[in-house]
């Protein structure tokens, strides 16, 4: 990597500083809240388990809750926390992806980069790398915060292998949505790209929940991107399912396609 490429990445990471900071603060607070809630609720775990046992298993599966979800922090995190975190993070990743190229085309600041000694291909790929680093940092901060807050509040922290797998899985999901944002930002108007990317995240989220219900065709769930990060497998085995490679492959494909589209794009400024 040349010095100017490194400079570009540093500059762009600097631009994402505020996003990283606000994301980290919000999820640190939520992490603390979840740890405190876990401590309180786990004290009444038996009563809660009886309530959940009364519900149809398909409904519990659809909302990603096991009957023993208050017995271990891993079960608790795989339920509500991860569900909210994945959806919020996906939409955030779409915004990051769209702004990286589409936003710069929209406000014309892309000119400041295409008139420097940077090829269009490298601008796109470096922006993808910047997003990757940004999402990794954000996930890492949230992961560390969760470990600390569970330790502080509940006295039982999630296992490291669970946290690492969650970190990699969530980051992969986010990178996939960021790649969707990147390619949508190159092909569409900024506002359309944001709406398109967010719609994919929200529809995917509901399709994944619906697909788990009895009577709904299995293929429907496979249409959801969240299906490929199996949180049930994560909860039970503290490791990632091989399906995650579908998301890794899709991200790579979208990023490479986006780079080629951006290379040929006319920039009407």
């Amino acid at each position: 990597m040349k010095q100017r490429h490194l400079s570009f990445m540093t500059q762009q990471l600097g631009r994402n500083r505020k996003s990283i900071l606000s994301w980290s603060i919000i999820w640190t607070l939520l992490g603390l809240l979840f740890a405190a809630v876990f401590k309180t609720m786990s004290a009444t775990a038996e009563q809660s388990a009886r309530i959940y046992e009364a519900l149809p298993p398909a409904v519990l599966k659809a909302v990603n809750i096991s009957t023993d979800y208050l017995t271990k922090p891993e079960n608790f995190l795989s339920g509500q926390f991860l569900t909210i975190y994945l959806l919020a993070g996906s939409i955030f990743a779409v915004i990051l992806g769209v702004n990286a190229i589409g936003g710069k085309v929209h406000d014309k600041t892309i000119l400041n980069y295409v008139t420097k000694r940077l090829s269009r291909m490298s601008i796109f790929l470096l922006q993808a790398a910047v997003i990757l680093v940004t999402l990794m940092v954000m996930n890492l901060v949230v992961g560390i915060t969760l470990l600390i807050s569970f330790n502080l509040f509940s006295g039982s922290e999630p296992s490291l292998s669970y946290m690492v797998s969650t970190f990699i899985g969530a980051a992969t999901v986010f990178i996939t949505f960021a790649a969707i944002g990147l390619i949508a930002g190159v092909k569409m108007e900024k506002s359309h790209a944001l709406a398109f990317g967010s719609a994919i995240a929200i529809i995917s989220f509901f399709v994944n929940g619906l697909g788990a219900l009895a009577g709904v065709p299995a293929w429907l769930q496979k249409c959801s991107l969240y299906y490929y990060f199996d949180t049930t497998h994560l909860r039970d085995f503290y490791s990632l399912d091989a399906r995650i490679f579908v998301l890794i492959g899709l991200s790579l494909l979208l990023i490479i396609a986006g780079a080629f589209i951006f290379r040929r794009k006319n920039l009407y400024l």
Partner: protein
């Protein structure tokens, strides 16, 4: 001397007769070329193709003797400066940050400090909080700080005060004096007349005229205002230049290319109360803007 830039048969068809059609442009070292035309004539499209923002449908571009496309132009970008009508800079950063970042991306030392002092720019205030004129100064510095040999300028001086306009003109002349070339697109024809050596007029996507400003002025009609001509002179002028003459309350006005003959006639009739004016580019190009 070889051209710094040659564009042949540049074409970009947006349909509905909009776009740029078969445009040829060449820039020689030391030359400042004005690029003029009414709104929607295709100036910005042509400049966007030359600096690699738009792929032409047809035509080829050679810069510094290299065939370039939008995909390969980045290799010679450190030798090119681009200044757009609207400064395309992130508003949350300061000019200093913008200059330092650009320097890093260009990979060469630049003169942004000297230029900032010269143009009296506050480099510590976020760009979003600067006035339009100061934002334009940031754009000017970004375009010229790396001593480019070829500069594309699109509507540079709208919104900036006359002193800065004059400094900007002087900076462009410096580029030309170093052997560089500038393509200056502007609606301000007095600025073009003052700074440029040659002018290219484009209308409806086609080049209508490409001439040195000196020869344009030489070929243009001069305007005579003749006060109190005697009867003989009056009749003689009407006989020779009837259709180009206009009566005023105290004499005649006349527009003609035969200015030497008119002066001879005036001197012959001992009429010295007259004024001769060179036409401005505004007057010469007025018909193209209709």
């Amino acid at each position: 001397m070889s051209s710094l830039l040659t564009a042949n048969n540049l074409t970009k068809d947006f349909g509905d007769k909009k776009g740029v059609f078969g445009v040829n442009i060449s820039l020689q070292p030391g030359e400042i070329v004005g690029f003029v035309g009414p709104n929607g004539a295709g100036k910005s499209t042509a400049i966007s193709m030359l600096c690699g923002n738009i792929y032409p449908d047809k035509g080829d571009i050679r810069i510094f003797d290299n065939a370039v496309t939008a995909d390969t132009i980045y290799k010679i970008m450190p030798r090119i400066g681009v200044l757009l009508s609207e400064p395309a800079i992130e508003l949350q950063i300061t000019p200093k940050q913008a200059f330092m970042e650009s320097e890093a991306l260009l990979g060469k030392n630049t003169s942004w400090k000297e230029l900032s002092q010269n143009l009296k720019l506050d480099i510590h205030k976020p760009i979003g909080k600067l006035s339009l004129g100061n934002k334009k100064k940031v754009g000017i510095i970004l375009a010229l700080m790396h001593a480019p040999e070829l500069v594309f300028v699109d509507e540079p001086t709208s919104g900036i005060d006359p002193i800065i306009v004059s400094k900007f003109s002087s900076l462009l002349r410096d580029v030309a004096a170093r052997g560089g070339a500038i393509l200056l697109s502007s609606h301000d024809l007095s600025e073009i007349q003052e700074v440029c050596h040659r002018v290219i007029m484009i209308k409806e996507g086609e080049v209508l005229l490409d001439k040195p400003i000196n020869s344009l002025i030489k070929e243009a009609k001069r305007k005579f205002t003749i006060n109190n001509p005697d009867k003989k002179l009056h009749d003689q002028l009407i006989k020779n230049y009837g259709i180009d003459l206009a009566e005023t309350s105290i004499g005649l006005t006349l527009q003609t290319q035969d200015y030497e003959k008119v002066i001879d006639l005036l001197v012959k009739h001992e009429c010295y109360d007259f004024l001769v004016e060179n036409p401005s580019l505004e007057e010469m190009f007025a018909e193209y803007y209709i």
